[in-house]
Subunit: 228 residues, 2 copies
């Protein structure tokens, strides 16, 4: 964990992240959030703006820029995972009526890991779990956390009740060797699919049914090589 990083760039990226998280922020706000002096934040934001990574809206607040959307979308489409997983997610929705998610372990940075939702298939029930692509959820206490830790039991799926959100039940299964070299199996899976549903609608039988479905879809995905 060496630290051969350029501070300026780190700060700029931090700023970029803060802008994206907020959706729209004033200079004073981001500079406080990132603990940068106003002048520094302004200079860096200008640079980001010149490159199209952020833009200033009509009210003078900073928002994510087009370049970012473009690069992100490009990267997304390079990620074949999403295309591969989409049909599986759809099938899960059809079979369960609940929302299904594809997530990957987020950037392992400072301590607390997160998972990032890469793709979503929304459930058909009018009361459903709704989230958004790009959302980052904490791993600790969630079924995804267990999955990403490589602790998935024989059954092939992990259930979490009252985890990150109190009234939802999440059922997750790992996409084990997706994109992983044979040597790196002990680092845990890179991706996972999950079904998230309101707890009141669940019972042991239903959980097992869905769990088996999720695990089956996850296993099915493993057969297909991840072409570029």
């Amino acid at each position: 964990m060496a630290e051969p990083a350029t501070r300026t760039v780190e700060r700029a990226l931090q700023l970029l992240g803060a802008v994206c998280e907020a959706g729209a922020v004033s200079l004073a706000e981001v500079s406080r959030e990132t603990e940068l002096s106003a002048s520094t934040a302004l200079r860096l934001l200008r640079t980001l703006e010149n490159s199209g990574f952020v833009r200033k809206d009509e009210e003078g607040e900073y928002r994510p820029g087009l370049r970012l959307v473009q690069l992100g979308a490009q990267a997304l489409s390079h990620e074949s995972l999403i295309h591969l997983a989409a049909p599986a997610l759809q099938r899960l929705v059809e079979a369960t009526g609940e929302s299904a998610y594809l997530s990957v372990r987020g950037h392992q940075g400072t301590g607390n890991d997160h998972a990032v939702y890469l793709a979503i298939a929304e459930g058909t029930h009018s009361v459903r779990h709704a989230s958004w692509v790009g959302r980052s959820v904490p791993l600790s206490g969630s079924s995804l956390g267990v999955v990403f830790a490589g602790k998935t039991p024989e059954s092939g799926y992990v259930v979490s009740d009252k985890g990150v959100e109190l009234d939802v039940t999440a059922i997750a299964a790992p996409l084990r060797q997706l994109g992983a070299t044979d040597a790196a199996v002990d680092e845990g899976p890179l991706a996972a699919i999950s079904v998230v549903a309101p707890s009141y609608r669940m019972n042991p039988a239903e959980i097992q049914r869905i769990g088996d479905l999720v695990a089956a879809e996850a296993r099915a995905l493993l057969g297909i090589p991840a072409g570029s």
Copy 2:
């Protein structure tokens, strides 16, 4: 057009762009493309890597990172435009069978402007124009170019034959005041929708039919305010 930009950050962002464009590049390649010394490129790429904006794949090549996908996706979902336009695109596909696109004027940087596809509804014909979200297309000679220049004729749509691609016909219409302040009408529209089809399938009557449809959808979108 002042230049109060930090060189380091600019270079890092340039590097990031190069990595995304390529999908996967070696250090030597990017450093040549961006005209940076290998040592500088390495240092900056390391910083980008530490922040999750790029990652190194098994072969040691640099690829777009998860953080970028995450931020891009987040930004995308904040962009209400896409959600607003999606139904219109779908209707165009249903009425024409051809692919329909939502695009915005890309970051006006160094000279040659581009448009970025933000959303796509794929046509139903087996031979269809296929592109991808995030793709950036040059404006010069395209119907989008005319539209973004604010030169759309009375008819409400612009047709380009043998433009950027030789064998396709594009029909575009501007989303005039979307997101624009009243004062900035002369800067041209910010977004446009278009239908792109193989030329051999087109004829004057069909072009006019589609043109009217595109213009009508574009006009319909203007009525709806762009909520956050």
